[in-house]
C-alpha cells in the first residue's frame, strides 16, 4: 500500500517543493482556502476521527473546535519536540517530507483562522530546523504561507522555534512557556491552551503533533469516509510505529491501526535478532507500562483501546523491544534515570520522588538493595502519580511499577531474596 504519511518512501525527493507540488502537494490547502469554510474543514477532520499522534490520542477536530471564533489573535503551534525515548517518526517526516507537515499546519491554521504558526523543534533537530525554514520560505514565495495566502485575504506566517534540550517542552503548556522565553515548565490548567489566557502569549492556541498534521492534507483530498476505512472504527487511520531495541529491522513503519503486535514485530520488523525470544515490550517509549510478550499480547490489535485493556498505552507507538536476556531491573533503572534528568523541578512529588527512585535503582544495581527498597519502589509512585501539574511523574512511575509487578523475580534476585537462575556453564 502506498504511504499516506511517509510518502518519502514512495516518491524520491518529495522534500523538494517542486516534487511535492508535482505529486499533489498543497492541493489540499488550495481546496480548503478556495472552497471550504473554516467550520467545514473542522467538520471533515472531526468526521475522519483523526486522533492526536503525540501520545494522548485526543480527537483533532474537537481540539480545533474549542478555539473561540471571535478571538482576534489565535495560534497553531506544531509540537516537533520529539524527545520520548524510542520515538523518531516526526524527525523522518520533517526531514524527508517536510512540506506535508507545513501544509497540514496551514490547514489547521485556516480552520481556526490563526494569525501565525510556530513549529517548535527540539534543539537537537538543529540541521532539520534550519532546512525547514528554507522549505517554509519556498511555500511563502508560492503564496501558500505568509501574507494574503492564495489571495484570500487571510495571512498566516509560519515560524520555526528551536528548543534547547528539555524533554518537558514536549508537554504542551511547557512548550508554550518555552516559546515565550519563560522557563519550560508546565502551566496550571485551566485555562487550557485553546482558551483565552491559556495558549501562546495567552491567546487561544491549538498544539498539534507533527504526525497528526501530516494526516490532514490526505483527509481533505480523500474525504473523511476514506480515512475512516483505514484502521478500526475507534482507532482510525495510519500510524507510524517506531521500532527500536532488540529488533531485526529497526526503523519507522507506517501501518493501519489495528494490526497485531505479532504482525508488526515479526512480519514487518523482522522479529528478534539472533533467534532470541522476546521478553518485554514498551509500546509507548519510556513513559508507558512495560508488557510481557505473552501470546495474548502478541495477538492483540494495536489500537488505543486494546493496548489500554492490556494495561499499557499505545501513546506515540514507539516500540522498545527487549529480548529474553534483557535485565528488566536495569531497563527500569535506565528509564528512571531519564525521567530524573528530565523532571523540570516545578512539582515536588515528581522532582523529589523520581530522584529517590533513581537512588534506589543505583543501590539495587550495585547489589546493595534490600527488601525494603523493593517495597519503596511500589510506595514512592503512590506519592507521585496524579499529584503533579503534568504527566511526567506518572510516566516515570509506569516502567517502575510494571516491571516490579511483572518481573518481580528479577528484582528479588538482585536483592538476594531468591537464588539467581543458574546460568549456562
Amino acid at each position: 500500500m502506498a504511504h499516506i504519511l511517509l510518502r518519502n518512501r514512495d516518491v524520491a525527493g518529495i522534500w523538494q517543493f517542486d516534487t511535492y507540488v508535482a505529486n499533489g502537494g498543497y492541493d489540499a490547502l488550495k481546496r480548503v482556502v478556495n472552497d471550504l469554510s473554516p467550520d467545514e474543514v473542522i467538520g471533515i477532520v472531526s468526521a475522519s476521527n483523526l486522533r492526536g499522534r503525540g501520545g494522548a490520542g485526543f480527537p483533532t477536530g474537537r481540539k480545533w473546535s474549542f478555539i473561540p471564533k471571535d478571538a482576534p489573535v489565535k495560534y497553531v503551534t506544531v509540537n516537533a519536540d520529539e524527545s520520548e525515548p524510542g520515538t523518531f517518526k516526526d524527525r523522518e517526516l520533517l526531514e524527508k517530507n517536510p512540506h506535508q507537515v507545513i501544509e497540514g499546519a496551514l490547514i489547521a491554521a485556516y480552520a481556526i483562522q490563526a494569525t501565525a504558526v510556530y513549529i517548535y523543534c527540539r534543539g537537537e533537530f538543529w540541521d532539520l530546523a534550519h532546512a525547514l525554514e528554507e522549505r517554509i520560505e519556498e511555500a511563502r514565495q508560492a503564496n501558500l504561507a505568509g501574507e494574503n495566502i492564495l489571495s484570500s485575504g487571510w495571512s498566516c506566517p509560519v515560524y520555526v522555534h528551536l528548543g534547547a534540550g528539555a524533554y518537558i517542552c514536549g508537554e504542551e503548556s511547557a512548550l508554550l512557556n518555552s516559546l515565550q522565553g519563560l522557563l519550560g515548565q508546565p502551566r496550571v490548567r485551566p485555562p487550557f491552551p485553546a482558551q483565552v489566557g491559556g495558549g501562546l502569549y495567552y491567546a487561544p492556541t491549538v498544539v498539534n503533533n507533527v504526525e497528526t498534521l501530516a494526516n490532514v492534507p490526505w483527509i481533505i483530498l480523500n474525504g473523511a469516509d476514506a480515512y475512516q476505512a483505514i484502521g478500526t472504527p475507534e482507532s482510525t487511520g495510519p500510524k507510524i510505529f517506531c521500532m527500536s531495541g532488540h529488533v531485526e529491522r529497526p526503523g519507522n513503519y507506517e501501518l493501519p491501526l489495528g494490526i497485531t503486535f505479532r504482525e508488526l514485530i515479526y512480519e514487518r520488523a523482522g522479529g528478534i535478532p539472533n533467534g532470541k525470544k522476546l521478553k518485554g515490550i514498551l509500546p509507548s517509549g519510556a513513559s508507558g507500562p512495560v508488557l510481557r510478550a505473552t501470546e495474548e499480547v502478541l495477538d492483540a490489535p494495536l489500537t488505543y483501546e486494546a493496548v489500554a485493556a492490556l494495561g499499557s498505552t499505545l501513546g506515540s507507538a514507539s516500540f522498545i523491544l527487549m529480548d529474553e536476556d534483557t535485565d528488566m531491573v536495569w531497563a527500569a533503572a535506565k528509564t528512571t534515570h531519564f525521567f530524573k534528568h528530565e523532571s523540570c523541578g516545578k512539582c515536588t512529588p515528581c522532582r523529589e520522588g523520581i530522584y529517590w527512585l533513581d537512588k534506589i535503582y543505583e543501590r539495587i544495581l550495585r547489589g546493595e538493595g534490600t527488601a525494603h527498597d523493593l517495597e519503596l519502589l511500589e510506595k514512592v509512585p503512590q506519592q507521585i502519580m496524579g499529584l503533579t501539574l503534568c504527566a511526567l511523574g506518572d510516566f516515570a512511575c509506569n516502567p517502575v511499577l510494571s516491571t516490579v509487578q511483572q518481573f518481580r523475580d528479577e528484582y528479588e534476585q538482585y536483592i538476594g531474596l531468591v537464588e539467581p537462575v543458574a546460568a549456562e556453564v
Binding site: T87, G123, F125, Y159, A164, G245, P250, L282, F338, E342
Partner: protein, 166 residues
C-alpha cells in the same frame, strides 16, 4: 558585541515574535556560537538585548542542556545512552570512545581542548544506534572504528582551521 556584529540576525530573530523575551533562546545560541560558551557577562548581554532580567536569562541557560555555562572542547560529542540505544550497545560504545580519547568513564574534555564527550538523553535516532551528535550534527550507526575515523577528520579540520587563522 553581539548587537553590532550580528545586527541583522538579531533583527530577524526578534521579527518572529510579538515580544523580545521570546528571542532569548535563539540569542543564547547566537552568543554561544560567537563566544563558545555562556559567561555571566554574555548572559547579561543577552538579557539587555531581550529586555529581561539577567537572572531570568541565567535560569533559562541553566534549564536546557544545549547551552553551556562553562568552556568546553571545540567539538561537543553527545552520545545517547538511553534505553533504546543502550539495548544496541551504546553504553559500551560510550566507554570505548572515552577510553580512546583518554577520558574517564564519565567523559569530559580532552587535554588538548578539542573534544568534550558527554552522555545525553534520547536524540530521536534510536533505530540507528549507537550514535552521537557532534556540535548538534547527527552521526549514526557507529562503532569504535567509525568514530575513530570521524575523530581523525575533526582533528584534521581543527588543525586546518588553526593553520588558516595562524
Amino acid at each position: 558585541m553581539l548587537a553590532e556584529k550580528h545586527a541583522e540576525r538579531i533583527e530577524k530573530i526578534f521579527a518572529k515574535y510579538p515580544d523580545k523575551r521570546s528571542g532569548v533562546m535563539a540569542l543564547l545560541y547566537l552568543a554561544q556560537e560567537e563566544y563558545g560558551w555562556l559567561s555571566e557577562e554574555t548572559l547579561r548581554e543577552v538579557a539587555e538585548l531581550c529586555d529581561i532580567d539577567p537572572t531570568q536569562v541565567q535560569s533559562i541557560a541553566g534549564f536546557y542542556t544545549m547551552y553551556s555555562e562553562k568552556p568546553k572542547g571545540r567539538f561537543w560529542l553527545h552520545v545517547c545512552t538511553d534505553l533504546p540505544c543502550a539495548l544496541r550497545g551504546a553504553d559500551d560504545f560510550f566507554s570505548a570512545l572515552c577510553a580512546y580519547l583518554g577520558l574517564d568513564e564519565h567523559g569530559g574534555t580532552t587535554e588538548d581542548g578539542l573534544f568534550t564527550v558527554e552522555p545525553v538523553m534520547c536524540l530521536a535516532a534510536c533505530d540507528k544506534a549507537p550514535m552521537l551528535q557532534c556540535n548538534f550534527h547527527y552521526h549514526e550507526n557507529l562503532d569504535l572504528e567509525k568514530v575513530k575515523a570521524l575523530i581523525e577528520q575533526w582533528r584534521a579540520e581543527a588543525s586546518r582551521d588553526d593553520g588558516v587563522q595562524g
